[in-house]
């Protein structure tokens, strides 16, 4: 077993075991455990990434039993990119949570369990383990929301319904695919489907069910209503994880099913109506989400509506996945946007949460002049917003660039118009959120004294994510190369 194969298993098992262990430890020890696991996962992901950059897909059959019998783990370029983003964001948020006085003691078990679930989804080679991983992510995420106190219980319950219903649809879809192909392994199922044109209707139905289920988890408009209260009312360290990472798991599975299950020749064209439907809802999400974000008066709901809008971008590019000369560019674009959003939105939410802990409110009007007292947090948020608007240099820009060029290649001009409109609207809500913090004077006079610990660890975490937003902006070429590893075409 090579180091990379070992890390493939460990990247799931280490946080899972740590989650169980955390429940038994005293509170301070949990923090240390969390930070230690974060460092370990970063290291393991790094090992996997090295293997992937070298052009190899890492595979591991647990217990030596190959698919379809055993559990098969597989890390291709797509997996490693999402693993890497999760490890980076997860590590920063873990440090934030460990340094914050407000972290609930149940946070550690739930978050480490959630992390294990995310990694399980990303490295899973078969559909059933994907389902199990998603279920673990969903349930821990619901519990994490509920840590936000009494006000967050109702949103958490609503989130629970959606998560379970979405998983159920996914499970039915997976069951259909197993019944047609006789295997759970993604690659094997795709081979069987390619050889059996008569199974196409069942596969189409299965994919539709899976897509609808995952769209609920992704909060694609019009199924977005649960996301805003859930993400906005969650604790400071949880909102970044929910918006940055948790919804990415559903996107990952969706891309896996669309691009890997269907063989690129025939079955995809049958998906055209579905793809166009998703594109239309995505376009509506970009516009409505952005306008709603513009109308918010508090930071966290604004960030949550921004997530609704950003989810829309990914779906806007779905019709392009069906076009032969645009599919690759659109795929790179979606992945770049999703990764960029993971980092940038985590930074925004972390900053908003930081300010909420410092001032007891996230109402923008009350936070006027906060930039003077907490320059690191506000700067970090600004950089995150640069990424969310999609300005260079950020993955948001790279993603939009790729989608725009793909749209030109496929001559879908409406996508260009939509990208332009979305960019301007997001600049609008970015200014709405930031200008008072950065430029106006504080409403309570006489407190101009800068608080002594403004260079504290939580503030550094926020600006760290902000800096990552910019630095990863140079990774566009790397992403394109990584996606070549184990690509569906």
């Amino acid at each position: 077993m090579t180091a990379a194969e070992l890390s493939l298993g460990a990247v799931v098992l280490a946080p899972l075991l740590a989650a169980a262990l955390a429940a038994a430890l005293p509170h301070t020890a949990r923090r240390a455990l969390g930070v230690g696991i974060a460092a370990l996962v970063l290291l393991l992901t790094g090992l996997l990434a090295v293997q992937t950059v070298a052009g190899e897909v890492t595979e591991l059959a647990l217990g030596g039993y190959p698919a379809p019998l055993g559990i098969h783990l597989r890390a291709d370029g797509l997996s490693v990119l999402f693993l890497g983003m999760t490890a980076l964001v997860g590590a920063v948020v873990t440090v934030f949570a460990a340094a914050s006085r407000h972290t609930h003691q149940a946070f550690w078990t739930l978050w480490l369990g959630c992390w294990a679930g995310l990694n399980a989804v990303f490295v899973s080679g078969d559909l059933f383990n994907t389902y199990v991983g998603l279920e673990l992510v969903g349930l821990t995420a619901v519990a994490l929301v509920a840590l936000g106190g009494r006000g967050s219980w109702a949103p958490a319950l609503r989130y629970l319904f959606i998560a379970v219903l979405g998983s159920l649809l996914l499970l039915v879809g997976v069951g259909l695919i197993v019944s047609v192909t006789g295997t759970l392994d993604v690659v094997q199922a795709a081979e069987v489907l390619a050889g059996r044109p008569d199974a196409a209707p069942a596969a189409l139905l299965a994919l539709t069910l899976i897509t609808v289920g995952l769209c609920m988890k992704l909060a694609l408009l019009p199924m977005h209503a649960w996301l805003v209260p859930a993400h906005a009312s969650a604790p400071s360290a949880v909102s970044p994880l929910l918006s940055g990472l948790v919804i990415k798991a559903a996107l990952f599975v969706l891309l896996r099913c669309w691009l890997w299950l269907t063989d690129s020749s025939g079955a995809l064209s049958a998906l055209a109506p579905l793809a166009w439907g998703l594109g239309a809802f995505g376009a509506a999400a970009v516009l409505i989400g952005s306008v709603m974000a513009l109308r918010q008066s508090a930071l966290k709901p604004l960030a949550a509506y921004s997530t609704v809008a950003q989810v829309g971008y990914w779906f806007v590019a779905f019709p392009l996945l069906l076009e032969e000369d645009a599919a690759e560019g659109a795929f790179i674009g979606i992945v770049a946007l999703a990764l960029g959003h993971g980092i940038a939105k985590a930074g925004l939410f972390l900053g908003a949460g930081y300010l909420k802990e410092a001032y007891g409110t996230d109402e923008i009007e009350q936070l006027r002049g906060a930039g003077r007292q907490h320059p690191y947090a506000v700067m970090g948020m600004s950089l995150g917003l640069v990424g969310l608007i999609g300005l260079p240099i950020s993955l948001g820009f790279t993603g939009k660039w790729n989608i725009a060029t793909a749209a030109v290649a496929a001559e879908h001009w409406w996508i260009l118009v939509l990208l332009a409109a979305g960019t301007l609207l997001s600049a609008g809500y970015a200014v709405r959120a930031l200008a008072p913090l950065l430029l106006q004077e504080s409403p309570t006079p006489g407190e101009a004294r800068i608080s002594r610990n403004y260079r504290s660890v939580p503030g550094l975490c926020v600006i760290g994510l902000g800096a990552l937003t910019l630095v990863t902006g140079f990774g566009g070429v790397l992403i394109a190369e990584a996606l070549e590893v184990g690509a569906p075409w």
Partner: protein
């Protein structure tokens, strides 16, 4: 010769160092405590001075020996971030780095004792980073990256005072600039997909020339998107609305905005677009130059007319910028070698003249509290040095010899006669008359106007209003420097390193 100054391996790194220099300054300044004035000033001044020296060291190699130091880093699939030093880049970067040094000195004096200095100088340095990046950008994508960066970082500068009025002005600015930026982005995307990645090249990029022959309609559409987007920053009518409102910014910001940063970045983009992306021949054959020329002519006249109607000093200067900056566009679109040289030289001349005027406006406002043109009455006696500098700048704007403005207008006039559009000469004459009509009354007020106190008050006040006021040295010295440059560029226009000669050299390259 250059190998004496830089080892050849280090040469490609120089443009990166130039960009990194002001970026580092910004990163150092942002976390500084408000009261560390001395440390902040040192970081600013050292970075600015190093940059001027680097530019000076590059000139012999790039202009004399034809070297093109280039740095490329992979950015998007198939497209690199490219920083390249060519004569035009050096021309613009030279302007921006010299004026940055002077504006920094001015700003340190201007903001003394005022709040939020770390934020101000941080964004100020980022603004210069963007300007340097724009000048060294070697392809459209790199240009776009820094162009958008410039939009972002000037927003907090415009809104610096944080009151409702400046926030509103900054919001208007951002709307215009981002809208223009999106148009440029769409144009770049479209052009990249149809003509391949576009590297700036003297005489135009080959891919664009092919596109222009195979599908001229598309090429024209893309040109409209790109030029339209850049016209926002260069304040071409009717996209100029943001500029006069942005006057609420602190004086050094206005000075920088009008002389080197935002407005100039837009014009510089148009120059690059016409000369180095499409190539002037291709652009001429596509027929896109004449509409741009007409738009620029309209802007020149309209801007002057509006300036004439303003009673506030800064607003009058703002509309004057609208008018003057379009001279550059006028020059590069009139399709003659002399005209292109005239446009390019005005890129620099307008910068040094307008920054002089804004420095003076800031001085008058700070020392005398003068905001309206009528407040300037009698200022010549109280602030003789500032008034003298203002007079030089104003004469330059009108185009009187021996100032830089005269050289610009002379060269533009030669170009107009040499070009297919001799009527542009008429535009120049009318505009110069209008310039005189709105600048001469200001100059008259300065020197010969009786101050209001003279008219109303008794003898004791009279004596007081006639005494010289203290003109702060940190504000006055940069002003006198730029005023001196204005005269020098006019008197010594034929020295080999004078802006005019370099502009002619670049223009010869454009026409091959």
């Amino acid at each position: 010769m250059v190998s004496d100054l830089f080892p050849s391996a280090a040469l490609p790194v120089v443009p990166v160092v130039m960009v990194a220099l002001s970026l580092t300054a910004a990163v150092l300044i942002f976390p500084m405590a408000e009261r560390r004035v001395r440390a902040r000033s040192w970081v600013n001044l050292v970075a600015a001075a190093i940059k001027v020296l680097l530019i000076a060291a590059l000139v012999p190699g790039v202009v004399g020996e034809g070297l093109r130091p280039e740095f490329a880093a992979p950015f998007l699939p198939g497209i690199d971030l490219v920083l390249r030093v060519d004569p035009l880049a050096l021309f613009f970067a030279g302007l921006s780095s010299i004026l940055w040094l002077l504006t920094t000195i001015y700003a340190i004096g201007y903001l003394k004792g005022k709040p939020h200095q770390s934020r101000f100088f941080g964004f100020f340095s980022l603004c210069v980073t963007a300007t340097v990046g724009i000048s060294f950008a070697g392809n459209l994508l790199t240009f776009l990256v820094f162009y958008e960066l410039l939009t972002l970082v000037t927003y907090p500068l415009v809104a610096h005072w944080g009151n409702a009025k400046s926030l509103q002005a900054a919001r208007i600015y951002l709307r215009y600039a981002l809208g223009g930026g999106v148009a440029v982005l769409l144009g770049v995307v479209w052009l990249t997909m149809t003509a391949g990645p576009v590297d700036f090249a003297e005489g135009g990029a080959s891919g664009v020339a092919e596109l222009a022959t195979s599908s001229p309609g598309t090429a024209v559409m893309i040109f409209i998107l790109l030029a339209g987007g850049m016209a926002v920053k260069s304040a071409i009518v009717p996209l100029h609305g943001w500029l006069p409102t942005a006057m609420v910014a602190p004086a050094p910001v206005s000075a920088l905005l009008h002389a080197v940063a935002v407005v100039k970045a837009g014009v510089f983009g148009i120059v690059r677009l016409v000369d180095d992306v499409y190539g002037i021949e291709v652009a001429w054959q596509l027929g896109v130059l004449t509409p741009l020329l007409v738009a620029a002519s309209v802007t020149v006249i309209y801007g002057s007319y509006q300036a004439l109607r303003q009673q506030e000093i800064k607003r009058r200067l703002a509309f004057s910028t609208v008018s003057q900056v379009s001279y550059v566009v006028l020059g590069v679109t009139m399709f003659s070698m002399a005209g292109t040289a005239g446009g390019m030289v005005h890129l620099v001349h307008q910068g040094i003249m307008k920054i002089t005027l804004f420095f003076c406006a800031g001085l008058f406002a700070e020392v005398l509290g003068a905001h309206k043109i009528s407040d300037l009455r009698g200022a010549g006696r109280r602030m003789p040095w500032s008034s003298a500098a203002f007079t030089v700048g104003a004469f330059g704007m009108i185009g009187l010899p021996p100032t830089a403005g005269f050289v610009s207008k002379w060269q533009l006039g030669l170009g107009a006669l040499d070009s297919p559009h001799p009527w542009v000469l008429g535009v120049l004459v009318v505009s110069s008359l209008l310039n005189a009509a709105y600048f001469l009354p200001m100059v008259y007020n300065l020197w010969f106007g009786a101050s209001q106190q003279d008219e109303h008050d008794d003898a004791t006040h009279h004596a007081h209003s006639g005494t010289p006021a203290r003109e702060p040295l940190a504000l006055l010295a940069p002003t006198l420097c730029t005023a001196g440059f204005t005269l020098l560029a006019g008197l010594a226009a034929s020295v080999w390193f004078a802006p005019l000669e370099i502009a002619r050299f670049i223009s010869e390259g454009v026409f091959g």
